[in-house]
C-alpha cells in the first residue's frame, strides 16, 4: 500500500537536512496552511459541481453542460464571478459582527476540515482527543450563524438564525452521542487510532447492530447540522428568502456558501472515519486474493470514495424529503433520535462487554 506518509516524511527530512528546526517548523506550517486552503477550495468547487449535476439528475435534467466538457468548468466560472462581485454596504447593520460572522463560519469549517485523517500521515494534527476536537470546533459555526442573523438587522435573517441555533444545538447532542458510541467501541478518542483499528473489519461491522443504529443516527443528525435537505429551515427559500445570509453579497456570501458545502463533506468524512474505516481498504476475512487486490487502490482514493458515497446519500435524501416544520424537527430530535442514541450507547456497552 502506498501511504502519503512517504511523501510527508520525505519533505520533512529534506527540510531538516538543510535548515534549522525553527525554520523547518515555520515552512511546514505555511505549507500545511496553503495545502489545506487549496484542498478546501478545490473540494468546494468539486462539491458544487457535483451537487448541481446530481440534483439535476434527480429532477430528470442534465445540469450544467455548457462551460467545458460536461460543464466541468461551471463552478470555476462561478467562482471567478463571485470574486468579482461587489460587497454591498448595508445601512444600519452592526458592521463588526456583520463582517466577523462570515469569517467565523468558514474558520469553524476549515478547522474541522484540517483535523480529518485523509491518509496515514496525511492529517495536520493527530490529537489524542481528536473526536472531541471535531465536535467542539464544528459546533462553533453556529455562533457565526447567530451573529450573521443578528447583525443583519432584518427579520428574515433573525428568524433564520434563531431556527438555526435551535436546530444545530439540538442535533449536536445526538450527533455527539452517536460518535461516543464508536468511541466506546474503539476505546480511543484519537482519530488515527480509531482508523488503524479498522484495518480488518470496519466499525460498522465490528460494532454489529449498535454501530449500525449509531451510523443511521449520525447520518440524520449530521445532515441536520449542515442545514440542508429536509432540515433547511434556517434558509427556507419560500419562507425566509435566504435565511441568515439574506443580506450578504459577493465573497462574504461566498464564505457561507463554501462553508455549507464543505460542512456536507466534513460530515460525510467524519462518518467515513468513524464508521466506514477511514482510509482503510475494504477487507473481507478469508478472501485473501480479494484483500490484496483492494490493497493496490491508494488509501486516499478509498477515503474520498467513501466520503463521496456519503455525500451522494445526503444529496439523495435532500431531493427526496419535503421540508420539516420546526416543531416536527425538534420532536424528531428530542423524542426519537436522542432517546434512541442513549439506548444505543447502552447497547454498545453490552456489545463491548459480551462480544
Amino acid at each position: 500500500m502506498f501511504h502519503f506518509s512517504v511523501v510527508t516524511n520525505w519533505i520533512d527530512e529534506f527540510l531538516r537536512a538543510y535548515l534549522p528546526d525553527v525554520w523547518v517548523l515555520l515552512i511546514e506550517y505555511v505549507l500545511i496552511g496553503a495545502v489545506i486552503l487549496g484542498v478546501y477550495a478545490v473540494l468546494a468547487l468539486v462539491l458544487i459541481y457535483l451537487e448541481r449535476k446530481i440534483c439535476a439528475f434527480f429532477q430528470c435534467r442534465l445540469g450544467p453542460t455548457r462551460v467545458g466538457p460536461w460543464g466541468l468548468l461551471q463552478s470555476v466560472a462561478d467562482m471567478v464571478k463571485i470574486l468579482l462581485k461587489e460587497l454591498i454596504k448595508i445601512n444600519r447593520v452592526d458592521p463588526l459582527l456583520f463582517r466577523l460572522a462570515a469569517f467565523l463560519v468558514i474558520i469553524a469549517s476549515i478547522c474541522t476540515f484540517g483535523a480529518l485523517p485523509f491518509d496515514e500521515g496525511l492529517l495536520v494534527v493527530d490529537f489524542n482527543i481528536g473526536v472531541f476536537y471535531l465536535l467542539a470546533v464544528s459546533s462553533l459555526g453556529v455562533v457565526g450563524i447567530l451573529m450573521a442573523g443578528w447583525a443583519s438587522n432584518n427579520k428574515y435573517t433573525m428568524i433564520g438564525a434563531m431556527r438555526s441555533g435551535a436546530q444545530l444545538i439540538s442535533y449536536e447532542l445526538s450527533c455527539g452521542l452517536a460518535m461516543m458510541t464508536i468511541v466506546m467501541l474503539s476505546g480511543s478518542l484519537q482519530l488515527s487510532e480509531i482508523v488503524s483499528q479498522q484495518s480488518e473489519t470496519w466499525n460498522i461491522w465490528r460494532g454489529g447492530i449498535p454501530a449500525c443504529i449509531a451510523f443511521v443516527i449520525y447520518l440524520i443528525a449530521g445532515h441536520a447540522e449542515t442545514n440542508r435537505g429536509p432540515f433547511d429551515l434556517p434558509e427556507a427559500e419560500s419562507e425566509l428568502t435566504a435565511g441568515y445570509h439574506t443580506e450578504y453579497s459577493g465573497i462574504q456570501f461566498g464564505f457561507f456558501y463554501l462553508a455549507e458545502y464543505l460542512n456536507m463533506f466534513i460530515i460525510a468524512a467524519i462518518a467515513t472515519t468513524l464508521f466506514l474505516g477511514g482510509w482503510q481498504p475494504l477487507h473481507i476475512s478469508g478472501w485473501d486474493a480479494f484483500n490484496t487486490t483492494m490493497d493496490f487502490i491508494p488509501p486516499v482514493l478509498w477515503f474520498f470514495a467513501k466520503a463521496f458515497a456519503c455525500v451522494l446519500l445526503s444529496l439523495w435524501v435532500r431531493w427526496t424529503m419535503p421540508r420539516l416544520r420546526i416543531d416536527q424537527l425538534l420532536k424528531l430530535e428530542w423524542q426519537i433520535l436522542m432517546p434512541l442514541a442513549l439506548i444505543d450507547i447502552l447497547l454498545m456497552a453490552l456489545w463491548v462487554i459480551y462480544f
Partner: protein, 154 residues
Amino acid sequence: MSYIKSIIVGIWRLMQGMYITMLNFIRPKVTECYPENRGKTEPLGAMRGELVMFHNENNQHQCTACGICQMNCPNGTIQIITKMVPTGEEGKEKKALDKYMYDLGSCAFCSICTISCPQGAIEWSKNFEHATFTSPKLVNQLNRAGSTLMEKEK
C-alpha cells in the same frame, strides 16, 4: 410498542420515497440540448411553426384568393394582393392571387386561417427558427414566384 412501530413504519415510508427518486436518477433525461440536437429530433406533430402555402411539383398552389383568411385573421397578419388574369374565353378576366403576404411578427399562431380556408391551401410547418435581425424580414410572401392556381380535377 406503537412508538417503535411508528418509527419502523416511518423509515419504511422514507425508503419508498428514496426508491422513487433513485428511479428518476437513473431514468433518461428530458433536457433537449438545442443547438446540438438540431435536425436530429422532430418537433411534435401538432406544432405550429410558421404558415406555409402548399405547392405541388408543377409550382401550383390551391389558393383562389377568396380572402376569407384575411378577414378572419384577428391581427391583420395576412394580406392578399390580387391581380386579374385573362381566362381562355374571349375578353374575360378572372381574379387570381398575385401576392400572399404573411407577417410572422404579428402572427398569434391561432390557426383560424388554416381552419377557415375552404381550399386547404395553407398549412403549418414545423420550422421554429424565426429569428432575424430586422423586423421587415419577418414579412414573407408565401406563394412562390410564377406560381399558378392548381386545376381542379373533375
